[in-house]
Symmetry: C2
Subunit: 498 residues, 2 copies
């Protein structure tokens, strides 16, 4: 298995090693031979957005060049197989309630790759809840009851669990009243309901929402949570199962590889990894010119830029982007989530889960699988409050893990998304007011340059793999129709038009 | 607007007229010019399965011929615009929990076409429940409570609302225990729980399940219901919203037209309507030959046959299909649903709904919209028990409508799917035992002939538009990969394979 530069692992006997094996490292890393070619489309970024767009556009007959700064496909979603176990370094969970990703799982015949993350059949079948009042264990039934109660109070801005405000999770602004909640932060909402919350409920909702946002209560928008909640059918167990419940046995990188291989099999794909686009010049009438950090130049009729919001300021555009778009890009998003995997020498931990809030540097932990050697794999999340760079001080990190429950940690695996030059953060979470203010401009094209990314996807699962696939699908559809021209569609009409 | 031969309407001043306007009637009806051409693919049937396959295969570069016996696209799903209102004659409702159809709605930029069917803001805001004990009205809250309780008892075969038996709605047979319920009929299940059911609950569950199956309690499989239930998240309100909650403002035929037009715009689509395929001969090594009822002959490398289960016996195959497949085709499915639209001269009925069981020839009615003239559109469903051909005796039909509540009916609109030569029934519902016995063989190919239809789709929403799109997507994917050959995919590998 090839090794990516991304990610790191720690074991007690070997310490920290940078880089991890990944099935998404493509060999050879570059297929471009003719640098004078004018492509139909250049796609910047080989995450799910770029992969989907590349697949659809090559299928539609267009010469497509895929440029990627990393040494692998997948962007903020990739898996590393270590000793026969798939560690998901970023985007992980999928569900049939996420239409765009599930359609792809189904199309690639991968429905038998679905596996449930929770498994409540082992001995340590409980939930550790650690707050300022101390630590206690509860049953998973008690956990779900507490968290459901808390989250329902939080989401219930309309006496109808948010459903009146956001009846269409995939079309959030269809209802004008949603704007009346647009500038509210998580902290604001907690303040509104503080007299109705027990300490346990306040800690539960804070932990859940901060795991979702990766930010702080002050800088995390309430509206983003309401959208997740609506997309999860306004129901905590459903939300939980949809966003943390079901993963792919083969690992996300094997899934992403299907997209890449399908595009490649069309014979219309060219690609170049380790190629960081620094400038996009669309000032000429007929052609966009792209420059890379290492001095390469590429040309195309259309460009689909899938660079994430938090690093979009690293690409220069000529002519300049609109002031509104530049504002949005400067504003960034707040998600600085820490995602940490721990391999625990205790098979019975497989049924465990827990939350520590507010006094720990990780917020939530959950058993997620059993490794071939019989260890339990647990995944942990932290946020900007009490933020930790897990590789900086392993003792501190182990302390944060052990704050949930005593655990004999054999291995840690992680990818520091905050320090990743191509991400500078995890999945998108807006600041209060930013969605209403910036989503429109982020989606706007810049002449022949389209912007596609889950960060501003116009659906229910923005910030998920689902939103990435949606965004790539839409961009490819737009570009296909433009390049084909309107003339072909005008020659067939239903009798309706006669 | 062109008129289809399909469907009929009745008004008190004009009586019955056959045929209805439909945006899915394509003009000219035939584009084929060269009858000697060997197509890459011939697709039999222009329902959503065939349309999806045609779109995907033409996009992938293949010369595709679409043959359709009717004068319109859409198969068992089509809409008729009458006096500015969209009547849905077959498949109607969509939801973001149906991944394949929602992906298409999103891709075609149609999410703002979604409209809720229920509207509880008008005066006659109640539910009429008419049983052998008489008629009474209840609030919609009482309705949902009664039906939830009843359906939960019915589905709860495992003490876990069916979730332990069918944890993956899109992969129903992943769990072996599902087979222990495979031969159970709806009547069998009602018998199992009869001591736990009130009369109201028994009538409620009977009506709901018969609206789903279109059959009788004896001939309807329990397992098909369990799948709907699982796909609806094991929850009655969610199931109700997913299968009866949200429709397209523009009508299904406008949606289907998007697929057709996209395929046409590729310049690789040929089509022929009013063309009934009677024979498919795949006995030659290189080529399949198809004969039509009016003596035309077509040839292709591959065939995708999307003919529905109940009329698949009308196509002769050479060489003969396997004995198992012929058995399955002879067995057919049981859904003889009557779907009837009524325009009611009462705007306040917009918030009404009702069930009559067991003594009426229609089972369920629900307000579904307001026509431009201010009438309420209600949709009614019947099944094989007490079956009615609504056009045979309009007085009898009006009596069945008025058995729910007194209604001043201005117009009736319907399509008799039982008498439709290309359907002989509505969406699929298997007999007890038939799923486990026949689904595998129905999905099997016959050399170069593939069989694709929602009737045997391998997903959560078999029998829905979602299953049709899934089935067409999968068939196109298979054919594309075959025709392209494996060689292209072998030249790129991840480093993994080195």
């Amino acid at each position: 298995m090839a090794k990516s530069r991304d990610g790191w692992q720690w074991t007690s006997h070997e310490g920290i090693k940078a880089g991890l094996p990944c099935a998404g490292v493509i060999h050879p890393p570059q297929s471009v031979k003719n640098f004078d070619k004018v492509y139909d489309v250049v796609i910047i970024g080989a995450g799910y957005t770029g992969l989907t767009a590349a697949r659809d556009l090559t299928a539609a007959g267009f010469q497509t060049l895929l440029l990627e700064g990393r040494d692998r496909i997948g962007g903020r979603t990739w898996s590393s197989e270590i000793d026969g176990y798939q560690f998901e370094m970023g985007g992980t969970w999928v569900h049939w309630f996420q239409p765009h990703v599930y359609r792809e799982i189904s199309r690639y015949g991968m429905k038998n790759e679905l596996a449930f993350s929770p498994d409540y059949t082992h001995k340590k079948n409980y939930f550790s809840f650690v707050t300022e009042h101390g630590a206690r264990n509860m049953s998973h039934e008690e956990e779900i009851a507490l968290f459901s109660r808390a989250v329902e109070k939080f989401a219930n801005v309309d006496g109808n669990l948010g459903k009146s405000v956001m009846p269409l999770p995939f079309d959030q602004y269809s209802n004008e009243t949603v704007y009346s909640h647009a500038t509210m932060s998580v902290a604001d909402r907690l303040e509104q309901i503080k007299n109705d919350l027990t300490d346990d409920e306040r800690n539960a909702i804070s932990a859940v929402v901060l795991v979702c946002s990766g930010g702080t209560r002050e800088n995390s928008s309430f509206l983003d949570f309401l959208r997740w909640w609506a997309a999860g059918n306004y129901n905590y167990p459903t939300l939980l199962e949809t966003v943390l419940g079901i993963k792919l046995k083969c690992g996300q990188s094997a899934f992403a590889l299907r997209f890449f291989q399908e595009a490649w099999s069309s014979r219309r794909l060219s690609y170049s990894f380790n190629t960081v686009v620094t400038q996009v010049d669309s000032s000429s009438r007929d052609m966009v010119t792209l420059d890379s950090r290492d001095g390469l130049t590429f040309r195309a009729k259309r460009v689909i830029c899938t660079v994430p919001l938090n690093v979009l300021n690293k690409v220069r555009f000529h002519p300049s982007l609109s002031r509104a778009k530049l504002d949005a890009i400067r504003h960034k998003h707040v998600n600085q989530c820490t995602k940490l995997h721990a391999e625990i020498k205790d098979a019975e931990m497989r049924s465990w889960g827990g939350v520590t809030y507010p006094n720990n540097r990780l917020l939530l932990g959950a058993a997620d699988g059993t490794t071939p050697s019989g260890n339990t794999h647990c995944v942990f999340f932290g946020c900007s409050e009490n933020h930790i760079h897990a590789e900086d001080d392993i003792d501190e990190t182990l302390k944060a893990v052990n704050a949930f429950a005593e655990m004999d940690v054999e291995r840690l695996v992680s990818h520091n998304w905050s320090k990743d030059e191509f991400a500078e953060g995890a999945w998108v979470w807006y600041q209060p007011g930013a969605e209403a203010k910036y989503l429109g401009t982020l989606r706007e094209r810049h002449g022949p340059v389209l912007f596609a990314n889950s960060d501003w996807a116009d659906g229910g699962w923005r910030s998920f793999i689902d939103g990435a696939i949606q965004s790539g699908t839409e961009a490819a559809f737009t570009v296909k129709n433009e390049l084909r021209g309107a003339q072909r569609e005008s020659s067939i009409k239903s009798k309706d038009d006669e």
